[in-house]
Symmetry: C2
Subunit: 454 residues, 2 copies
C-alpha cells in the first residue's frame, strides 16, 4: 500500500496551476493523452460495481489497483472478475463503512469509481477529491442541496473533477436526438419530457439471496439494492431518481452552458404499489405489510429553464408497467417521442400532422461516437451506453481534461431529488434551483458529445 507521493503531488500541483483550464470547459478535440495508463480504485463492488469493473478490466489502459467494499461476497466476485480478466490482484479495503477513507488517503490513484448506496456518493466523492483524486460517481451524486454545494466547492478548490456516470446521455437514440437538436432539426426547443418509469418492485424487494424478486424482504433482510434502496421509498417522497431522464435533457438544453434550471414544482400520487406488492406476494400477515411507504407511486416534476423551455420529469417505480424513460423533445419545427418511436418535422415529414417512424432519423443522425465505436460498444451493457460513459471517464483521466459531464451537471441533475421532496412537502409549491455555476452558465461552452473523441 505504498503511496507515490511525488507523482501524486506533481499531478496535484500541475492541475492546480492549470485550474482555470480544468474548470473552464472547452472543446477537448485533439487533446493528447498525458498518461498512457490510468490507475483506478473501485469503491463499491456490488452488482453495478462489478459490471463496470468488468468493463474497465477489459481495457489495457486501465490499472485497477484497489477495491473497497463492506461485503466479502461482493469482494470475492470482484477479485474473480479481475483474475479472469488477467489483471493483477488489487489491494482490498474491506474494514467497514469508513475504510474508503484509508483507500483514498493511501493509494496513488488517478480516479475512483463509486458505485455504492446513494447516501455514500457524496462523502466518498468528497474524500477522493480532498485527497487529490478525480471522481466518477454513479447517480445521484448527492442527496441534499448542501451536499451538492459541497461537491462543487470541493471540486473547485481541489482542481479535481467529479463526473457523474450518467450513461443514458450516451444511449444511441438519445445522443442521435442530441445530434438532431444541435443541427436544428426541431427548430428552437420548447418542451422536453423525460423520466424514470421502471417497475422496480422486484429490485426493492427480494428473498435476501437473489438480487431480483423472489420475496418481499428489504433492509437488513434484503440483498443487493433491496438492502438500502427501498429505505428511500419508506422515508422520502420525491423524484428519487431523476438523472437518467434529466441527464440527456440537460445536454439538449445546454444546461449549465447557456441555460439553467430555474424552478420546479413536484406533485406525487398516493402511495399504493409497494404495500400492494407485499400483500399480494406474502399476505397481510407478513411484517412488511405494516410498513408505511412515503414515496408516492408516480411523481411528476415540472421544471422551468432560464431560456424559457419546460421539462416534465416522471418518476414511476412502484407499479407494473413497461420500461420507458418517457422522452419527448419538442421545438418550434417538430418533435420526437420515444414511446411511439416517432418523429414529426414540419416540411420534412411527408404528410402534414402525421407521425413518421423515428428510425430513419436515428440512423441518419447517428452520433459520430457511435459510428466510431459501434463494434466495441456492443455487449458492453445497457445497450452499449456503459461502454461510452466508462470510456469518457477514462479518456478524461488519460488526457487530464475536464470530463464531458462535470460537477455542475452532477449537481444540477441530482439536486432535483431534494428540491422535489421540498416541493411535495409543501403541497407542490415552487422551489428555486440554486445556481451552482455562480453565473458561469451564461458563458460556459458546451462540453458533451462534441465529436467522436468522447
Amino acid at each position: 500500500m505504498s503511496k507515490s507521493i511525488n507523482r501524486r503531488d506533481f499531478i496535484k500541483t500541475s492541475v492546480l496551476a492549470g485550474a482555470g483550464t480544468l474548470l473552464v470547459p472547452k472543446v477537448v478535440l485533439g487533446h493528447p493523452a498525458v498518461r498512457e495508463k490510468v490507475r483506478l480504485g473501485f469503491i463499491g463492488t456490488g452488482m453495478r460495481g462489478q459490471w463496470v469493473l468488468w468493463l474497465a478490466a477489459k481495457r489495457p489502459d486501465v490499472e485497477i489497483t484497489s477495491i473497497c467494499d463492506i461485503d466479502e461476497g461482493m469482494i470475492a466476485s470482484a477479485l474473480k472478475i479481475l483474475k479472469d480478466s488477467g489483471k493483477p490482484e488489487p489491494r482490498v479495503y474491506n474494514n467497514g463503512d469508513e475504510d474508503f477513507r484509508n483507500m483514498v488517503a493511501n493509494e496513488d490513484l488517478d480516479g475512483v469509481y463509486i458505485a455504492t448506496p446513494w447516501e455514500w456518493h457524496h462523502p466518498m466523492s468528497m474524500a477522493a477529491m480532498n485527497n487529490g483524486i478525480n471522481v466518477g460517481t454513479e447517480v445521484p451524486a448527492a442527496l441534499t442541496v448542501n451536499d451538492c454545494w459541497d461537491l462543487v466547492n470541493t471540486s473547485e478548490q481541489t482542481g479535481k473533477f467529479c463526473m457523474i456516470m450518467e450513461n443514458v446521455c450516451y444511449r444511441r437514440d438519445v445522443i442521435a436526438v442530441l445530434n438532431m437538436v444541435r443541427q436544428g432539426l426541431f427548430g428552437e426547443l420548447l418542451h422536453l419530457q423525460c423520466g424514470y418509469q421502471h417497475d422496480l418492485r422486484h429490485v426493492k424487494f427480494n428473498d435476501g439471496k437473489q438480487p431480483y424478486g423472489g420475496g418481499v424482504e428489504f433492509g437488513e433482510k434484503g440483498f443487493s439494492e433491496a438492502k438500502w434502496r427501498t429505505l428511500h421509498s419508506v422515508n422520502r417522497n420525491g423524484d428519487l431518481y431523476p438523472t437518467h431522464g434529466v441527464g440527456p435533457v440537460s445536454t439538449m438544453l445546454n444546461i449549465n452552458r447557456g441555460n439553467r434550471f430555474v424552478h420546479l414544482t413536484s406533485t406525487a400520487t398516493k402511495s399504493r404499489g409497494l404495500h400492494k406488492y407485499i400483500v399480494d406476494q406474502a399476505g397481510t400477515d407478513h411484517p412488511n405489510a405494516k410498513v408505511k411507504f412515503k414515496l408516492g407511486d408516480i411523481v411528476t416534476t415540472v421544471i422551468k429553464c432560464a431560456n424559457g423551455e419546460t421539462v416534465v420529469v416522471s418518476h414511476d417505480t412502484n407499479s407494473p408497467r413497461p420500461y420507458s424513460l418517457n422522452f419527448r423533445v419538442q421545438g418550434t419545427d417538430g418533435l420526437w417521442m420515444v414511446d411511439n418511436d416517432s418523429i414529426y418535422i414540419e416540411g420534412v415529414s411527408p404528410e402534414p400532422h402525421r407521425w413518421e417512424s423515428a428510425q430513419p432519423f436515428l440512423e441518419k443522425y447517428d452520433h459520430p461516437l457511435w459510428k466510431r465505436f459501434e463494434d466495441q460498444a456492443a455487449g458492453s451493457g445497457h445497450g452499449g451506453m456503459d461502454f461510452f460513459i466508462v470510456r469518457a471517464y477514462i479518456e478524461s483521466l488519460k488526457r487530464n481534461v475536464p470530463p464531458p459531464i462535470d460537477v455542475y451537471d452532477a449537481v444540477s441533475m441530482s439536486v432535483i431529488s431534494p428540491l422535489s421532496e421540498q416541493s411535495i412537502a409543501n403541497r407542490s409549491s415552487l422551489v428555486e434551483f440554486p445556481d451552482f455555476t455562480r453565473g458561469k452558465w451564461k458563458t460556459n461552452a458546451r462540453i458533451f458529445g462534441l465529436n467522436d473523441e468522447f
Copy 2:
C-alpha cells in the same frame, strides 16, 4: 314571437318543486320522457353551431324555434340547413350582441344550445337559466372563477341545468377506457394524463374569407374563430382549452362525485410559434409580425385530486405536431396510453412489462352506448361523439332529468383556465380549486355513462 307563458310557468314551477330531484344526481335508468319533443334555441350559428344544428335538425324529437347570431352570413347558412332538413323556419334574433337576451326572454324554449365565442358562454348561460331555460353550452363554460360560481349559483337557484357539451367524454376509445376503469381493469387509479395538443395555427390565422389558413389575419380582419379565439393567445397565458382532456379524465376519476380537484400548478414555455408562423407566412413586414403573444407555446398543468391521484394536462396549440389528446390512464394494475395505442395490465398482458395493442381491449370494453347507437353515430362528426353529446342533452330535456355532465362538471373543467393563468402569473405557484359542490362531492353519485340510455 308569442310566448306560451302558461306552459313555461308550469314547467318552471314543477321543476322548482322538484329541485332536490333535479340537483341530486341519481341513476336515470328508466326515466320516461315527460315530453315528446323539445323546443331548442340556438345561440351562435357559426361553423360549430351549424354543425350541431344539422345534427339536431335530423331528429324528429327536436323543434328549433329560434336562432341567434350577429353575422348575417352565418344566419343564412343556418336557415338553409333547417330548410334542407325540412324543419320550419325559426324566429331569428340578429339585432346585435345582446339580442340573445330578447330571445331567452321571449321564446318558449326547453333549452338553448350555445356555440359562441368563449367569453359569451357565461352571460348567455346566465340569461337562459334566469329565464327558466336549460343550457347546453360549448366549452369552456366560463373564463373566470367568479363566473364559474355564477353558473353554479344560478343553476341551483333556478333549478335549470347547465350542461357543458364536452363531446370527448363520448369518444369511443375514451368511454371504453372509462368502462375499463369502472370494471377495475387498471386497479386503483393513480395518475392520468390528458391535454389539447392540436396545431391551431391555421385556425388562429386565416385570410379573412375561409375558416382555416390561407393567411395570417386575425381579430377584425380574421374569419370565424380567427376573429376572436386568437385574441386569447394575445392576452392570456394559461391552459386556454382544458376540457377536451379533463372532461373524460373527470368521469374516470369521479370528479364531483366522490373525488375532486384540489390544487394545481401550471408552467408555460416561451411563446414562439404564433409569431414564427406569421413571419414564415407573411414576412416581418406584415403588421401582425409586431403582435406580442402572451400564450406560452406549451403549458403543462399538474392537478392533485382529493383521493390522491395526479393529472397532467398539456396545452399545445401553437406548434406543428400531430393531433393528440395525450391520454394516459394508470392504476395499480396497469395503464393505457393513447399515443402508442397500447395497454399493459399485469397478469393479463401476455408478456411481463411489454405493451400490447389496446385494440382488443377497446373492442371488449366497448361502451353500451356505442354498441346501441353505433349506426346512428356514424358520420355525425368528430368520430361519432357529437351524436352522443347532442343526444344526451336532448334526452335530458325530454326526460326532465339532470344531464350526465352537469354544472359542477362544467365549472370544475372550465376553471382550470383561470387557475392556470393565475399559477403561471405567479411563477408556477400553487393554486387551490374552489369546491363548487360545497362539500357535496363527498356524497354525490356518478351520473355519466352509467348505461346505454345517455
